[in-house]
């Protein structure tokens, strides 16, 4: 084991993982983002995963950049090139380096123990020493150390420094001194490795044409854009990780697009509520009053909102909830991802309640389904849950550029205007005039004939208070029918056939998509061929039911401990639960194909079957 790069193993071009271990609050996020974006700009597909602590400063943080010429879009779960910037996690980071992989460490200090890892190559770069020599201010030295490893990694793997220079210039705009300082640090790292490690590593980034027409964006930002394009005018929220950036995004887009330049008037209203009890109430008040209204939150927020959710369900008030799921229960792991609110959201609130859920799998679907969520909420006059998660919401994903159809018009649902009210003899709020279980509603201030009383207490089809069993049941039964009718209106499932006769299939949801597809490829190489359906809406459409019925066994792949998607499938389809095999990952990290391959393989071994 030497401090030089010797015997390069198999050369891997555009197919490896860089993992940077750092200390939270040292400015590493911008350095890591810079590396990732530079690779993306070189035309090479990337997957970025930020593994960050629930902390402002001091705890360990990691950033994984998967360089994937095959355009896989899951986390790989491996690390071929580890940049160890955090002494606290050094041993762990070292242990994670793949056999034959590389470790970059700060050689300002004596090289730490390699704990017997003779199968890897350690590369020392005196990052701190060089930055201390070149920069005066203590904070600057810390920040620039990160930029220095960007230069070192770029030099070692072939990331184009001119692309990095272009990005740094865009990042700092007119602040020339910041551009100069950052480029100086980057060149410190770059020049050092060029001088000391002149031979290129076998891990190489080479320009290709794999990112044309694509963008790097996180799901919360894309969902926020969807809210703007849907015409949402009201958002209420209470800050909670990992949903905060959704409202930050909505605010910044609204300030860009919806502020009158002459008067300063804002064609939107965002209220930071005192808590989630209030934020959902505000969104409901705005929805009741005819605005497209939403609230972004996470699982703890949904728990707090539950009483109001039942009110909006029973009173039939449109509202959209964005649940950016994080690992529970309780406070759980606030900065780790899970799909653990599925059953909570499906039946949120006391009494018999059932809701409409949408499951985006990536930022592109976040944009599109945000718009669909508002259409469904107003069409069905009910809360709609947009079920995303921390991985989709907060990580940058490579997706095809978002497009918009200018002929789109919002589906505002059945709302009677002044003339329509004038023309009818009498208005009854909960009358099923069209036989589709969706009544007409009216907005305050339009016409005295449209007045009605929205209540969470028992009411009849006229909207009047009732304790009469038959009147009460009539409304409840119509709500069930309305919910069932939504099955045909939610986004259809996506089905991918393996192209061979398959006796088994996978059903999954949301952000597991990339891991499932990659696992299918890996298993196919081993002769295991599975079809795949990804649910995108709840209630489940008939297609989901039919798909499951067509296979001997279906692996239900999801990120929670209790197999919540499977529970919903058992509850709401005719699927035989003994044929629904749970494949679960609840470690809190973005899904990688490994747990799926292992889960499926283990089951096949048990049943003594290979396909």
């Amino acid at each position: 084991m030497k401090d030089v790069v010797e015997t390069p193993g198999e050369v891997r071009v555009n197919d490896f993982v860089i993992k940077i271990g750092n200390v939270n609050g040292t400015g590493s996020a911008s350095a890591n983002g810079l590396l990732m974006k530079a690779i993306f700009r070189m035309g090479v597909p990337v997957v970025g995963k930020n593994l960050f602590p629930s902390n402002i400063q001091g705890l360990p943080t990691w950033y994984e950049i998967r360089i994937t010429r095959d355009s896989y879009f899951a986390r790989s779960g491996t690390a071929d090139f580890v940049v160890a910037m955090n002494a606290e996690t050094y041993a762990r980071d070292l242990a994670e380096v793949s056999p034959g992989g590389f470790l970059l460490y700060d050689s300002t200090w004596p090289r730490p123990d390699l704990h017997g890892r003779s199968d890897i190559t350690a590369i020392g770069v005196p990052l701190a020493r060089m930055c201390n020599e070149q920069f005066d201010n203590a904070r600057t030295r810390v920040l620039m150390k990160n930029m220095a490893y960007v230069g070192a990694v770029a030099g070692l793997t072939g990331i184009d420094v001119e692309v990095i220079r272009g990005l740094v210039t865009e990042m700092f705009g007119t602040k020339a001194h910041l551009i100069d300082a950052n480029m100086k640090a980057i060149e410190l790292g770059l020049n050092y490795v060029r001088e000391h490690y002149p031979d290129p590593l076998p891990l190489r980034v080479e320009p290709m044409d794999g990112t044309a027409g694509h963008i790097l964006i996180d799901g919360n930002t894309a969902a926020a854009l969807g809210c703007v394009y849907a015409g949402a005018t009201f958002g209420a929220w209470y800050p909670i990780t990992p949903s905060t950036s959704l409202m930050d995004g909505f605010k910044s887009f609204c300030e860009k697009f919806r502020v009158d330049r002459d008067t300063g008037e804002k064609k939107f209203c965002i209220i930071q509520a005192e808590d989630e009890l209030a934020s959902i109430g505000m969104a409901i008040g705005a929805g009741w009053n005819g605005a497209r209204a939403f609230t972004p939150t996470s699982g703890p927020g949904i728990s707090l909102m539950s009483e109001f959710i039942g009110f909006a369900y029973y009173g039939e008030v449109p509202v959209v909830l964005f649940d950016v799921q994080r690992a529970g229960p309780s406070t759980g792991l606030p900065t780790r991802t899970q799909q653990c609110d599925l059953t909570l959201a499906a039946y949120a609130s006391h009494g018999d309640t059932k809701h409409i859920l949408l499951f985006p799998a990536n930022p592109k679907e976040c944009f599109e389904m945000a718009v669909q969520s508002f259409d469904l909420a107003e069409r069905f006059q009910t809360p709609v849950f947009f079920m995303t998660d921390l991985d989709i919401g907060m990580n940058d994903w490579m997706i095809p550029e978002l497009t918009w159809d200018d002929s789109y018009r919002p589906d505002r649902g059945k709302v009677l205007g002044k003339d329509e009210l004038e023309a009818i003899e009498k208005f009854y709020r909960y009358e099923d005039r069209d036989g589709d279980a969706i009544p007409y509603r009216t907005l305050p201030g339009v016409h005295p004939k449209g007045a009605y009383f929205t209540r969470g207490s028992g009411h009849n089809w006229k909207g009047g208070y009732t304790e009469d069993s038959d009147e009460y049941k009539e409304v409840l039964d119509r709500l069930t029918q309305k919910w069932k009718n939504a099955a045909a209106a939610v986004p259809a499932p996506v089905v991918i056939k393996c192209g061979r006769p398959a006796r088994r299939a996978i059903v999954s949801v949301g952000g597991c998509d990339g891991a499932v597809r990659e696992a299918m490829d890996r298993m196919a190489a081993d002769g295991v061929h599975l079809d795949y359906l990804r649910v995108r809406g709840f209630p489940f459409s008939q297609e989901v039911d039919d798909f499951i019925a067509a296979y001997d066994e279906v692996f239900v792949v999801e990120q929670n401990r209790d197999a919540q998607l499977r529970t919903l499938l058992i509850n709401e389809t005719s699927a035989d639960k003994t044929r629904l095999i749970p494949v679960l990952d609840y470690a809190g990290m973005a899904a990688n194909p490994k747990f799926i391959v292992e889960g499926v393989t283990a089951h096949l071994e048990i049943v003594g079957d290979s396909a």
């Binding site: 005018t233 300063g264 209220i271 008040g285 705005a286 005819g290 605005a291 159809d405 200018d406 449209g450």
Partner: protein, 350 residues
């Protein structure tokens, strides 16, 4: 039991400028106990709306849970109403108001609804200076669950079974004053002559207007030893400021009318005339208002009237730079930036 409409006969009743009688401002039959203070508040609200010539559809009624909250069904049947969950009417009012500020928002709550689970929302609606009239029908007791003390029950006040309350009370008016409310009043359901002008003034106030109405519960808190009974309230009733509301006032000649009343012009037109019954009391002095109410706790006097008024505070709409046209009326093409803008925007993500 269903919502019972009231028989509608009004041909001999006087009409307001809209050609409507008070009957047009009523709702369904009250299901509260006979003699409940809340029904008097309901009647005062009907009277105030009628006298102000407000179109019924220009009002939106909001409430939470409890006896008081039920009353939004008993007035203004031609107005939209929403009777939501316990203590959280202010949030619904906030969202509704944000997207259409042209309506008159009237919230009805109680001491149970506002001062326990609803205490946070009550406080934050004040902090936002939400433009609404917030009527707190205060009886010191939970009626629907048969007589538990509420958070406004005075220390030492006795329950129907004779058990004294041993917790200190929350005074909604003191709280509102310390939180920065611009309109704070206390009234008594038994004095309609005081209550109706206060409701009118509160409706015309541009910002959060609180009227804490002592509204006795005849079934569970109207006995000897209770400090929220009719007898106790009549005995210790102490009007500090007399308020008259003059709609569409003409000839405003000076700050004080001939009768010595202080004149205040309201944003929506109309004028308030405040006559002090205590010569030293200044309803423009927040500190004095707080001091007076807090001292009032020790001598047992129930000081009523428009205790504090500040017409010059920016409301939630102003603070959020909301447009004149309600958000819920903005056409979609003003909200959607379009395909071109989306394409241009994405340069930053490449």
């Amino acid at each position: 039991m269903t919502s019972m409409p009231k028989p509608f006969i009004d041909k001999h009743l006087p009409k307001n400028r809209l050609g409507l009688s008070v009957r047009n401002y009523e709702g369904v039959m009250s299901t509260l106990c006979a003699g409940c203070g809340h029904d008097s508040v309901t009647a005062a609200l009907v009277q105030a709306f009628w006298e102000l010539d407000l179109a019924p559809e220009s009002a939106a009624k909001v409430s939470g849970i409890g006896c008081s909250s039920k009353t939004t069904a008993y007035f203004m049947g031609q107005s939209h109403g929403i009777n939501c969950v316990h203590g959280r009417m202010p949030s619904v009012a906030t969202g509704a108001n944000a997207v259409n500020g042209k309506l008159h928002y009237i919230g009805i709550s109680g001491d149970g609804d506002s001062l326990s689970i609803g205490f946070g929302q009550f406080a934050h609606a004040i902090r936002r200076n939400l433009n609404m009239l917030y009527v707190l029908e205060n009886n010191g007791v939970y009626g629907l669950t048969k007589g538990q003390f509420s958070a406004s029950a005075d220390y030492g006040s006795k329950s129907k079974k004779g058990v004294p309350n041993e917790q200190t009370p929350i005074d909604p008016c003191v709280q509102a004053l310390t939180l920065g409310a611009g309109f704070v009043a206390r009234a008594f359901s038994g004095d309609k002559s005081q209550l109706v002008p206060l409701i009118k003034a509160g409706l015309m106030h541009k910002g959060f207007a609180l009227i804490d109405v002592i509204s006795p519960c005849v079934t569970f808190n109207d006995h000897a030893g209770s400090t929220k009974s009719y007898a106790h309230t009549y005995k210790y009733y102490h009007p500090l400021v007399h308020t008259d509301f003059v709609a569409h006032a003409e000839e405003i000649t000076g700050e004080y009318a001939d009768d010595g009343a202080m004149r205040v012009t309201m944003h929506d037109g109309g004028e308030l005339r405040l006559r002090k019954t205590d010569s030293d009391y200044d309803p423009r002095d927040r500190a004095q208002a707080i001091e007076t109410l807090m001292l009032g706790g020790s001598d047992g006097e129930i000081r009523t009237g428009l205790l504090y008024l500040n017409e010059d505070m920016a409301d939630m709409h102003a603070a959020n730079r909301l447009p004149e046209a309600p958000l819920n009326t903005l056409p979609y093409d003003q909200l959607n930036p379009g395909a071109g803008a989306l394409a241009a925007l994405q340069k930053r993500y490449r």
